[in-house]
Symmetry: C2
Subunit: 545 residues, 2 copies
């Protein structure tokens, strides 16, 4: 059986554009004599459409595309296409997350997703009724089991905060399918491609047949879908792997499965490419081209500049150095050198004048109170204001450069360095930012070495160091990982890393206190197991910690 | 049967404080010879705890409070207390939203919430497994049906985007209870108290017995709980109603139900009190006392100032007029007069100097491009910066004054007038802001009459009027209601209000385009059926409209 694995990058709600991609894929399938074209979960609308699903016309449009555009284009071909459809029965929720099973212009029926993830970034129980039935489909003379994404994850016991009552893989095994297909929209997180492959392997091994997983690719708001569609054989060995982080429509002949591959996955390269794709799609899918960012000379803005240059092209990126009386000469030089290395546009706009004016303006109202964080925030906000003015006047989107570690504990200024349309590395912890920088510099020095070696500083007062206010980053990041990603208690974290309970509790308290800041931060690209905001929903007002 | 209806205001995760409130209520119950003390849904942890529920220790602490503090305090008394507990069985989710049924220091068992709202502001399927069983409890010689909140709403067919398979009211009716109890945490929205009463009446009528509903009261982040616990008799008539918007522990003797009341509910007064309570609890529960806001002389900031003064006390509110070259004399006078009428502190800080400095600083980089929205945003951001500096230095929380209509279409400046810790009226549409202002002025002129009568203007350029950029507010608000709250299509809205389809589609497009701004707005107090952000989750990047 010849299968075209159609790994597409749909845009949410772009029914016309998404349909075009699907139709051209069907055309390609026919040209290449494929018998089956396999698409990803909710490919007609893009995943996840969120509350757009509550508009009746949105769902009707999805069904209209299926019936009026896709069905007529499948003459002589089988196709399996993910879409939202109305739940025709009485049910708690009025929609199904479905796969339309199509053969030769006719709709054979639907497989409705059985396991609906409702944890972390997933809200499927908000919209969908779980499918009830799992059965085999007769397609091109084969008995085919069709799954949608999560349907095979319970089998690997890799679901979050959930233990489903059903395991569709186990349920269908006794019926001895010849082939298993999975339509996925599984968002990237660090080392998720490896995990997803593992899940497919387990399912294929249980079913003892090849499994083809077709994945969505592309960035949609905070989520990046990495692609990496694949085929595993009945022994659970990978025999095909599509490209990561780009569209891919590869033909796989299941009768001639190749020898097992050792899939080449470089976690650091994947992380970098996820950030690049997340940035690019955030811009392009909204019709924007140009991005600007503040270049402090530090490691965070350097890494973001590299990502932006890769995502948007050097001619579309503007770096702005905005020194104050506290900026070291070295920092401005590092910023300049980075811009030169990347070939991006560069401006230097001092904030000294407006800073002085504001200090004078406010002084009478400060009642003689001493210099404090107010004046530091002021500098950060004066910079945010410059970036936003350049953005408004010249059509740039501002890229925010804060990392996850500082966002976690609120070591950042609302409306200052937190300003921007997209938080490029806001889900990347500081130590991982360093790792990314080293990866970027693996062949030649793009990021100036001194940005990597100097002690991190916000340079908002004389001789300031991050460690004046924060623990060393390796410690901070370990606590962050333990509390935010692994839900350990402070005591458990202290024990695990041989830290004082007091230190851990202090960091945990700061994580909760900074919730109000993060609530107003720009959307950030999710690349970790547990990203602030999109997958982590905490009250601002609470007294737990 | 004598029931103490314990309408409390818990703080999320404040196990010690919440337990104290529960224990003192049990003490009061004993003193007043009540036989039963009834509490609200999840009273031990406060509702909604969101992802705090994913911390094992959080759930264990909730159960510990029940066993170690509450049980021993119920000697000679029945009590029904809402809490999260572990799901001891295999289940899709590891928790139950439960009511502990207690008599004389002993735990008789749990009623687990059967219907789990997962729509709008509710995410209960994210955490909880639905309860299976509905049975009668033998309490003080009576057969008692216990429900938790949503359990009785399907019976009224008043749930959102959902049609449950079960109707616990109908299920329990054949067993002929003597009494029905409901533990609720039902958030306020405009005219929700009336709706909730209606729901109770329907359930009581079907069961033909009195129903006692105990509601949570207080503000938790964006949600305000209005209280208004009540008792309806078996004919569905209201016989008792607790106070709205404050704690209330009233004794109700079910053997001596009074003659039916005609509950006095003034929707505009309720709206005002919801905003006051939401503001007060946002401050007090975080340990803040003082709020500041920009006073433009317009209607929005005037209404917010009134709410702040009521919530925090006049000595804790600072209004700041920040005129520019475009501010009319009348506006500054109106701001001054309002501050005088309210007795709040008042400052006047002109933004002319920093505005001039910024124009000069940026001019070389603007490449001769004409004056546009950039300079308007600049003014708004200069003001935001002053408010934030005063906030940082003097310990005020900034109150954001934007209304729902302008937030809807993005007629507001990120990091400018959108800056602040709390969006007090960000869920109040402009025409409702006028109605609130008239209500505030019902006895005497607090808000200067000219703030109500002059044409709304942002005063960011000469002779600017809101209607230069927006349709008339009655039109805008009607479209907003149709699209955001009622999920009508543009065509349906155009037909309903006799508007051109083009106009409606233009507004709808702007609503979607402004999603990126709202994502970074301050949390706002939810008072409508469909509030941006907390109950409305849309992608930023999408091409649906």
């Amino acid at each position: 059986m010849r299968v075209l694995v159609c790994q597409l990058n749909p845009t949410i709600g772009d029914f016309s554009g998404n349909a075009d991609k699907i139709l051209s894929s069907l055309e390609k399938a026919r040209k290449e004599s494929a018998e089956l074209a396999l698409f990803s979960e909710l490919v007609i609308s893009g995943y996840p459409p969120e509350d757009l699903l509550m508009h009746r016309h949105f769902v009707e449009e999805s069904e209209r595309v299926l019936h009026e555009k896709i069905l007529p284009a499948t003459k002589g071909l089988a196709a399996i296409v993910g879409l939202v459809r109305k739940n025709p029965n009485k049910g708690e929720k009025p929609l199904f997350n479905s796969a339309a099973i199509i053969f030769d212009g006719k709709l054979l029926g639907f497989h409705d997703k059985i396991l609906l993830p409702t944890y972390d970034v997933f809200d499927e129980r908000r919209y969908f009724e779980p499918g009830r039935e799992i059965k085999l489909w007769q397609i091109c003379g084969k008995k085919v089991a069709v799954f949608i994404c999560e349907d095979i994850w319970e089998h690997a016991a890799l679901v979050g905060f959930t233990q489903y009552f059903r395991d569709p893989v186990k349920e269908v095994a006794p019926f001895h399918p010849d082939l298993a297909l999975n339509l996925s929209s599984s968002p990237y997180q660090f080392q998720k491609p490896e995990l997803r492959l593992h899940v497919s392997c387990l399912a294929a091994k249980t079913l003892r047949v090849p499994l083809v997983m077709c994945c969505q690719v592309g960035g949609n708001d905070q989520l990046v879908f990495d692609g990496y569609s694949h085929v595993v054989n009945g022994e659970g060995k990978t025999v095909f792997m599509a490209r990561g982080f780009e569209e891919d429509r590869s033909l796989v002949d299941l009768n001639r499965l190749k020898v097992p591959l050792a899939p080449h996955l470089d976690p650091m390269e994947d992380l970098y490419r996820a950030l690049v794709l997340g940035t690019r799609d955030y811009f392009y899918k909204q019709g924007f081209k140009k991005g600007c960012l503040g270049l402090s000379g530090g490691i965070d803005s350097a890494v973001v500049a590299c990502i932006a240059q890769e995502a948007l092209g050097k001619e579309n990126v503007l770096g702005i150095s905005m020194p104050s009386r506290y900026s070291s000469k070295g920092s401005v030089q590092d910023a300049e050198e980075l811009a030169r290395n990347l070939g991006i546009d560069y401006l230097n706009i001092s904030i000294e004048k407006p800073f002085t004016v504001y200090l004078e303006l406010l002084e009478p109202h400060f009642q003689g109170k001493p210099w404090d964080v107010t004046e530091e925030n002021l500098q950060a906000r004066l910079r945010g204001m410059i970036l936003m003015a350049i953005s408004n006047k010249m059509g740039y989107i501002v890229l925010s450069t804060g990392n996850k570690s500082e966002m976690a504990v609120g070591y950042c200024t609302l409306y200052g360095d937190m300003a921007g349309g997209l938080g490029v590395i806001s889900d990347v912890a500081k130590m991982q930012v360093y790792a990314l920088a080293r990866w970027i510099n693996r062949n030649r020095e793009i990021i100036p070495a001194s940005s990597l070696t100097k002690a991190p500083s916000a340079e908002l007062r004389a001789n300031q160091k991050d460690t004046d206010s924060l623990p060393e980053y390796p410690v901070l990041d370990a606590v962050l990982q333990g509390y935010v990603e692994d839900f350990l208690s402070p005591q458990e974290i202290a024990d695990k890393h041989h830290l004082s309970l007091n230190l851990v509790e202090n960091i945990v308290r700061r994580i909760h206190l900074a919730e109000y800041k993060r609530r107003q931060g720009p959307p950030g690209i999710r690349v970790s197991k547990k990203a602030f905001r999109v997958g982590r929903r905490y009250p601002i007002v609470q007294k737990w910690k």
